[in-house]
Amino acid sequence: MTLSLLFQHIVNALSLGSLYALIAIGYTMVYGILRLINFAHGDVFMLGAYVAFYMMTLLSLPWWVALLVAIVFTAFFGIGLERVAYRPLRDSPRISIMISAIAASFLLESLAVLIFGGRPKGVPVPDVLSRVIHFGSVSMIVISLIIPLFTFALLAVLLWIVNKTKTGMAMRAVSTDIEAARLMAVDVNKVVSFTFGIGSLLAAFGGIMWSFKYPQLNPLMGVMPGLKCFIAAVIGGIGSISGAVLGGFLLGIIEIMTVAFLPTLSGYRDAFAFILLIVVLLVKPTGLLGKRQAEKV
């Protein structure tokens, strides 16, 4: 393998890892706050991509306007989803809210088939993003470079919000002890909405970038990435944001590198996530960066 090829694989791995990380964060943040696995998160990712698609095709908006509109729309959609499907069940047994999450996921997929149609749609990738650039002998598509760059910027903002702002402090408080947070006059509903908003925003961004990199949409496109990113979050230690990022990148890198170096195994690429999950959980049941946490009562 030549050096330039290796470099290309690295960029690809980073860009896939970025997308995984963006989605995994949504799982981990929601879990951290509500101890809920938001099974519909992968479908939110799909929705973001479709909304951007229609903004570009039906409304002929410039791609970056479409991106912004779709992200904002999806963020509010995520907030609405929590209101409708999860909030009424917050004090019910955990199993009810899990079932509601699974139902929400199926509902969104079915609605997507109904509204968007089941046939895959080709995404008009903006020219600036599909251009190939050359560094000496290395050539790369712009989108593969842009994805990690934007992801790092978004992660920096996210970490700043969570660790340095008052809202972030409230989020961390709610995730440790909801009731004690209430006693501090924290409006838990607002914090939960904010969390769903951020998670959905990141998923939408990931979905749109995904659709620019692998330019095809279908209503079930969120299922596999959703599942893998949930696994990434568990591998990293669910509830931990840096864990989700680590898990996402790990998964992306392993997936790309295995396909690159052991092409005979490429048919099994979707299985790597599960193998890694099993290995990590056997060695460290709380995930790589997870801490043991008492079950909330």
Partner: protein, 236 residues
């Protein structure tokens, strides 16, 4: 200031509070004592809306507050230092204290109160950047009390603040209670340590399996034979 009228609370089939009446006058220290499981914590938790009463009312300055959301009640100045400390273990000591002031927007006042709390508990100042979960039990209790003070409460409710503390620290907590009361904060105190509580309290209530069986001035209750026997551990 605060009035509780025939308050009843059920947990499933358990009738934890069976219609209690209780008054906390402005500027006073009132204590609620009773055996384990009597319903003391339940009383405090219903005042701040963490528990929904089945019947009865809680009034603040003659306005009904039962049924309101906890964060709104806390914002009115009714602050509970909960049983078992409930420190945010993954937040730093200072963040814990700042969360106590979450509802306040007067930044200057918050910083002033922060240094006031650090004066009261120098130990917390030494540990301000440490995670709350790494503190010792007693230090966590100081943090819980300090966090309660950070909200500038009008009525500070404390659920067994001296639990698990070394006698010297416990004494200090009671001194702080009288001090903040002298500074104008009304206090509703729940304690296992009935003697210490009745000594600082203006008025006391005795709760037995969900009913108030005795009440009176702190000093009078200290002298009362039934109280001495049941709660002060004295032989007749």
């Amino acid at each position: 200031m605060l009035k509780i009228q025939s308050l009843s609370v059920h947990y499933g089939g358990i009738h934890a509070l069976q219609g209690i009446d209780l008054t906390v006058p402005e500027g006073k220290i009132v204590t609620l004592i009773g055996a384990n499981g009597a319903g003391k914590s339940t009383t405090l938790r219903s005042i701040v809306g963490l528990v929904k009463p089945t019947s009865g009312k809680v009034l603040l300055h003659d306005a009904v507050i039962s049924g309101k959301a906890t964060q709104d009640i806390v914002q009115m100045g009714l602050v509970l230092v909960p049983e078992g400390r409930r420190i945010f273990s993954n937040l730093t000591v200072e963040e814990n204290l700042l969360l106590g002031a979450y509802a306040r927007s007067d930044k200057k006042g918050v910083l002033k109160d922060l240094s006031h709390v650090y004066d009261l508990f120098p130990r917390l100042k030494e540990r301000r950047m440490q995670k709350g979960g790494t503190l010792s039990g007693g230090e966590q209790q100081m943090l819980a009390v300090g966090r309660g003070l950070m909200s500038r409460p009008k009525l500070l409710m404390m659920d067994e603040p001296s639990l698990g503390l070394a006698p010297l620290i416990a004494k200090m907590i009671f001194e702080i209670i009288t001090q903040i009361n002298a500074e104008g904060t009304t206090v509703l105190l729940v304690e296992q340590n009935a003697k210490a509580a009745l000594e600082v309290a203006d008025y006391g209530y005795v709760l037995e399996t969900g009913r108030i069986t005795l009440q009176g001035k702190g000093r009078d209750l200290l002298m009362d034979d039934r109280v001495r026997k049941a709660y002060l551990g004295e032989a007749q």
